[in-house]
């Protein structure tokens, strides 16, 4: 269990830093990007390990990533996109999409379609997690800022 957890932590940390470098993210955002991604993926991994459904675990990971990403963006006075993108990359179903392609290429249409649907559900849960995180953030700041929603939450 510990080995798997460490693999998930370090894999998400370094993988997300590499991804952030690919999109020319600002230098000072790289370490926080890695931390957010590692913690989001760790949450997903722990929930999945405890037997919670994969879709719910992805949602929780994306929601945590969205909230912590926006927190970092406000604190560092940076654009939120950098942190939000890094937080979702580890849960993007790369393996699921590859299996879908491989199965469809081999002519196993039914199995490929099954994998594809799983991957689509994961993508939908990521979107939902990001979206709910964004709404919660706005709600919180609408209370703090009486002018309402005319507020740029990610800076």
């Amino acid at each position: 269990m510990i080995t798997g957890m460490l693999q998930a932590l370090f894999g998400a940390f370094f993988g997300s830093i590499g991804f952030a470098m690919l999109v020319h993210a600002p230098l000072r955002s790289l370490f926080p990007c890695g931390v957010i991604a590692a913690l989001s993926y760790l949450l997903y991994w722990v929930l999945a390990f405890l037997g919670i459904s994969d879709a719910l675990a992805v949602f929780a990971g994306a929601l945590f990533g969205s909230l912590s990403g926006q927190w970092f963006a406000r604190r560092m006075k940076m654009i939120g996109t950098v942190f939000l993108m890094s937080s979702i990359v580890p849960v993007v179903p790369g393996l699921g999409l590859y299996r879908t392609m491989a199965l469809l290429g081999q002519g196993a249409t039914a199995a490929g379609a099954g994998q594809g649907i799983d991957a689509m559900i994961t993508i939908a849960m990521i979107s939902l997690g990001l979206g709910v995180g964004s709404y919660l953030n706005r709600l919180f700041h609408a209370k703090k800022n009486p002018s309402g929603f005319d507020f740029h939450p990610e800076g």
């Binding site: 998400a12 993988g15 991804f19 470098m21 020319h24 600002p26 993108m85 979702i88 790369g94």
Partner: protein, 265 residues
């Protein structure tokens, strides 16, 4: 009614607003961010009734001039690539202008500099970045040392090819197809000469740098703010990228079956 010439101050304001919005959209920013930045900067410059409408391919800006006339401009924008450092820098300028800490002239001069900054790394650095990204995700998918090294190496080669395609002015779609093709082909070829390794882990890790993570994030962000046109546009871009990568991988599968049929009759 005869057309009145714009005053120098009005020209500078409009130029700065257009440039700020254009840099954000050209470098992969969300359209709501471009709209908000234009409105905030405009108000910071002392303009009234500032309105902006942005889509991923263009900008519309209008404001009320001091003489009461409405000034409007349309700007066609062509997506250049992804550079979040430039967007972050525009955001910094926008904050200073809207807080009244930066003049229009200074903002314009800073925005002109931002337009051409390469970001924290030169384009060549994207090769080790792809290596780090693929190696990290290969570890996350449970890969051992060999899988990590192979995924990183293959992603670096794919990124190098992508840079070469960009240099000869090929569109991003070509990079996605070539990326999917090489990412699926190279591990199979290496499997013929190297000791046994998990093909699935190597391919899944190596494909991660190609994932349209930014387009996905922008699609969700724009849609959640009610900007359906931009949300659908970014979502379509993400889906198209994924389909092109998949198409490239399926092509390599067909080629491999052909090769295996010829080499192993």
């Amino acid at each position: 009614m005869p057309e009145e010439a714009l005053s120098v101050a009005d020209q500078r304001c409009m130029e700065a607003l257009q440039l700020a919005g254009r840099i954000i959209i050209e470098n992969g920013g969300e359209t709501y961010r471009a709209e908000e930045t234009i409105c905030r900067m405009g108000r910071g410059m002392g303009l009234t009734q500032v309105e902006s409408f942005a889509v991923p391919s263009g900008l519309f800006i209008s404001y009320r001039r001091a003489d009461g006339a409405l000034e409007t401009s349309v700007k066609r924008v062509h997506r250049q690539g992804t550079n979040l450092t430039r967007i972050d820098e525009v955001n910094r300028v926008s904050r200073s202008v809207s807080a009244g800490k930066m003049s229009t002239e200074d903002a314009l001069s800073q925005l002109r500099k931002i337009e051409s900054i390469p970001g924290p790394f030169s384009p060549g650095w994207t090769v080790p970045a792809a290596l780090l990204c693929a190696a990290g995700f290969s570890l996350l998918f449970g890969g051992g040392w060999l899988e990590i090294a192979l995924a990183g190496g293959i992603a670096a080669v794919v990124q190098l090819v992508s840079l070469l395609l960009q240099r000869i002015h090929m569109h991003w779609q070509a990079s996605s197809i070539a990326g999917g093709f090489l990412t699926a082909l190279l591990p199979h070829l290496l499997a013929w000469i190297l000791p046994a390794f998990s093909l699935e882990t190597v391919i899944a890790g190596a494909v991660m740098p190609l994932v349209p993570g930014l387009a996905m994030t922008n699609a969700v962000q724009d849609t959640m703010r009610g900007d359906m046109v931009s949300g659908i546009s970014h979502g379509t871009q993400a889906a198209l990228t994924a389909c092109l990568i998949a198409g490239g991988a399926l092509l390599s599968g067909a080629l491999l079956r052909l090769l295996e049929g010829r080499l192993i009759p």
